[in-house]
């Protein structure tokens, strides 16, 4: 089991370096004797040819190295028992959705800045007005 686990963790670490935005989890389900790898997002799993080739290569290498062992590489699924999780890692680079969130946050920040500038200008005007009123009173 250790050899299979080390083999998979090494390969999955490489995936995390290679594929921007990928999230990978690996567990060994002793009840079914399955090594389970969950990969997301789907845009990488079934939308990135390089990833699909890497997945095929991993299947083949694993079968050759451990012909008796069972491996499932799938999308995250409720069927998979991931309670004995041995690896959980992501490529931290910003994926599409993260960029969208970043732009959203940037818009919010920009709006806050505009509001603050307006408020600041308003209070400066009032301050100027107050100073003038005091001057006139004096």
């Amino acid at each position: 089991m250790m050899k299979e686990t080390d083999f998979l963790i090494n390969a999955l670490n490489e995936w995390c370096k290679q594929f921007e935005g990928i999230h990978v989890r690996y567990a060994y389900d002793a009840a079914t004797e399955y090594h389970i790898v969950e990969v997301d997002p789907e845009s990488i799993r079934r939308g990135n040819i390089e990833y699909e080739e890497a997945e095929m290569a991993l299947w083949t290498q694993f079968m050759e190295a451990f012909p008796e062992a069972d491996l499932l590489i799938s999308e995250p699924s409720r069927v998979n028992d991931m309670s004995n999780c041995l690896f959980d890692s992501s490529n931290k680079s910003l994926g599409q959705s993260e960029w969208e969130r970043f732009y959203f946050d940037y818009d919010v920040l920009a709006q806050i800045e505009i509001n603050l500038t307006k408020k600041c200008a308003h209070s400066q005007t009032n301050e100027y007005k107050n100073v003038n009123e005091y001057a006139l009173a004096a």
């Binding site: 389900d29 009840a31 079914t32 004797e33 399955y34 389970i36 699909e52 997945e55 095929m56 299947w59 083949t60 079968m63 012909p67 008796e68 069972d70 491996l71 499932l72 590489i73 799938s74 409720r78 069927v79």
Partner: protein
């Protein structure tokens, strides 16, 4: 119709009957066998590994593991449209069968229905990309 393909289709029908008649857990077994028997058919009729050769190759060995290791990568390489999904579908079906047959667990009906859909997808894709092409 060749026997193994017929057996594979009958296993799909059996899984459906079990699901519709209050025995969902038992449906995992025929759902998996439909894919295994179809793979044996494919090896014999499309990949030139006769049934006799399959018998010899797997004597006293884990025939399921050996035959799937032989067939699945070839299927994925030849049918680039479905590609790696053959490996995913087959292993999902096999894992579910182990869970349902050997482990004292309850499995939601909806997951077993999804499992049957996986078996049907496997059969449909094999039929479209290998068997119908061969005719």
């Amino acid at each position: 119709m060749p026997a193994y393909k017929n057996k594979a289709q009958n296993n799909i029908v059996t899984a459906e009957i079990l699901l519709d008649n209050g025995l969902p857990l038992s449906s995992a077994h025929p759902a998996y066998y439909s894919s295994f028997l179809l793979m044996k058919f494919l090896l014999a009729h499309c990949f030139s590994v006769s049934y006799a050769q399959q018998e010899t190759l797997t004597k006293n060995k884990d025939s399921h593991k050996l035959l799937s290791n032989m067939a699945l990568p070839t299927m994925a390489a030849q049918d680039t449209e479905t590609g790696n999904d053959y490996l995913v579908w087959y292993n999902k079906l096999k894992m579910m069968r182990r869970k349902a047959d050997y482990k004292p667990v309850e499995i939601e009906d909806s997951l077993l229905r999804d499992n049957l859909t996986t078996a049907k997808n496997f059969m449909k894709s094999v039929d479209t990309h290998f068997i119908s092409v061969k005719k």
